[in-house]
Amino acid sequence: MDARTRAHYVERALWPIGKGDRNFWIAVVILSATVAAGIAAWIYQLQNGLWVTGLNQKVSWGFYIINCVFFIGISYGGAITSAILRLTNAKWRAPLTRLAEATAVAALLVGAVYPIIDLGRPDRFLNVIRYAQVGSPIVWDLVAIGTYTVASFIFLYLPLIPDLAVAREALGGRRRVLSPLYRILALGWRGTPPQHRALARGIGIMAVLIIPLAVSVHSVLAWLFAVTVRAEWHSTIFAPLFVLGAMFSGVAAVILVIAALRRVYGLEAFITAKHFRYLSYLLVALGLAYVYFMVSEYLTEGYVFAENTTPVLESLFTGAYAPAFWTFSIGGLVLPIALAAMPGRFPIARASIASLLVVAGMWLKRFLIVVPGMANPIVPWDWGRYQPTWVEIAITAGSAAAIPLMLIVFFRFFPVMSIHEMDEVEGTHEVAVTRRAPAFAGGED
């Protein structure tokens, strides 16, 4: 990368910092209003109790648990995309990793709140800690999500250190308020070889660690379902299916975020059609793997047609939930995979549309896991019914708006693309290390 291109890259990476143009404020107002509506709905629920939701005695898990699984899944996709690109030392990763890591943190913060919302009484959340049962998946869920949250913040922060030093220098006195913050967070970064080594080691550890952590979080979430005796949930394939579903929807969400912010921040010169093609390949691979897992699950259960699973399978394939199931199968799986795999023109538009379908489809899939599984009675009762109320819809919309809001606010203070990483992969900046960092640490192999 020549000096001019690098200067352009740095300028674009730092461009959003402190920029508060009209579009920014319009976006902030709209997103904040949606978030505020969600918070108001939650306060209404706190005042009146869970009866204001569609949750009931038979179907006590609904939108909140669906959203918890969905948003944490998206977070997982963001983290895993960045980690895989780092571990495989993909040269094209530099402009994407920051966006993926920030998406991971934002989605995680939203997803992690949902179990508390679902409790109805947030103060009772402390009971999970006060009366912890080590044999309970809920306790381990808390541990896994807590650990993963800390890891995600570290994974976002470490690659940010050199960029903060660059931002500190590049912005100079222009951003007097931010300079002290950058100085503290940059930890006195000067780009010396020992500093590069220390950073490469830290990022390397995190890139390796974040994958099993994310897998564990989603596996424990899956076991919350699978260790019950409910027909649709009691499945050995649930944990890998959840992990794969999380990766699939997460990569799709990252594509959407990248496609949107690329335009908003004018990153077209650096995030090109090539990036979308590569991410589409990843999406196709994950989608096909998900199809395989799903077929394997339904084939195994459908072939046996055990007495307790039959009603759920019938409701999914031909019964009350069939429209949602086939919408997901065709609109959320087959169609986006075909769109993303198709060679030819408009790769960005195709990847974006495919991702949108995947994100919507995977939310629907989580609905199809949670609601019919719970509505099917385990004692000889009638099927349960679940219809979300405006409270759940408002909270869902508010939380969905919180993710882009957090992202645009975050990128108002921190570089939107990794400058350090671009220097590293493009080789403009000669890293004078006495011992080369291994490939998993982002160094040359």
């Binding site: 080590v134 044999g135 381990w140 541990v143 650990t147 800390v150 890891a151 570290i154 922060y157 470490l158 250190i161 050199p162 030093a165 660059v166 500190r168 220098e169 930890l187 006195g188 970064w189 000067r190 780009g191 010396t192 020992p194 500093q195 080594r197 220390a198 950073l199 080691r201 830290g202 990022i203 550890i205 995190m206 660690l209 952590l213 220097d423 900046h429």
Partner: protein, 189 residues
């Protein structure tokens, strides 16, 4: 307007006439319940029921269901068992309560032939109760008990790695930065 009124009066008259005849055919049974301690106290308490008509005739072959009044999200009746009356209209049921203290029992006979169902109540003070249920150890219980500790150790190891990643990196960067501090500040890379 007058016809529906006539029809209504006729229906009421028929119902009262034949209804009363039908009710008159049925006899109300009286259900007396008493509770006595079992000969072997550890076996619990015998709930004796005597089911008779008002004129003292026994009601035999009638099923009597026993309930205990409990407080479970409000007042409820917990079904505890049933017994059938003999030729004398008597039956009994041995009940070992789960807790000590006062127990209120309801015995209810169902409607049978021309006898209308009835119920009786009694209260007794339990001085013996069933031993607390202790489930048998689950298969692989010893292994299951050790699993949380294993997972806990793994979680601690992960936290140690996380701490090392952030603190080690920060320390490495800060130390190198301090070493350079006396020198002229170089350009940031």
């Amino acid at each position: 307007m007058r016809r529906p009124g006539i029809a209504l009066i006729a229906t009421l008259a028929l119902t009262l006439t034949f209804g009363n005849v039908a009710l008159a055919d049925h006899v109300k049974a009286i259900c007396e319940v008493t509770a006595t301690a079992s000969a072997k106290l550890e076996k619990g308490y015998v709930l004796n029921v005597r089911l008779r008509t008002a004129d003292g005739k026994p009601v035999n072959e009638a099923t009597v269901r026993f309930y205990e009044k409990v407080e479970l999200f409000g007042d409820r009746e917990m079904y505890i068992g049933s017994a059938t009356t003999d030729g004398q209209g008597d039956t009994s049921f041995t009940y070992l309560p789960a807790r000590l203290g006062t127990h209120e029992i309801v015995a209810r006979s169902a409607r049978k032939d021309h006898f209308i169902g009835s119920e009786g109540r009694t209260t007794f003070e339990a001085t013996v109760a069933a031993r607390a249920y202790r489930p048998e150890p689950a298969p692989l219980a010893a292994f299951s008990a050790a699993v949380p500790f294993g997972v806990g150790a793994l979680v601690l190891a992960v936290w140690a790695l996380l701490a090392f990643a952030i603190l080690g990196t920060a320390r490495g960067i800060l130390r190198s930065g301090r070493d350079l501090a006396p020198q002229k500040e170089e350009g940031v890379s």
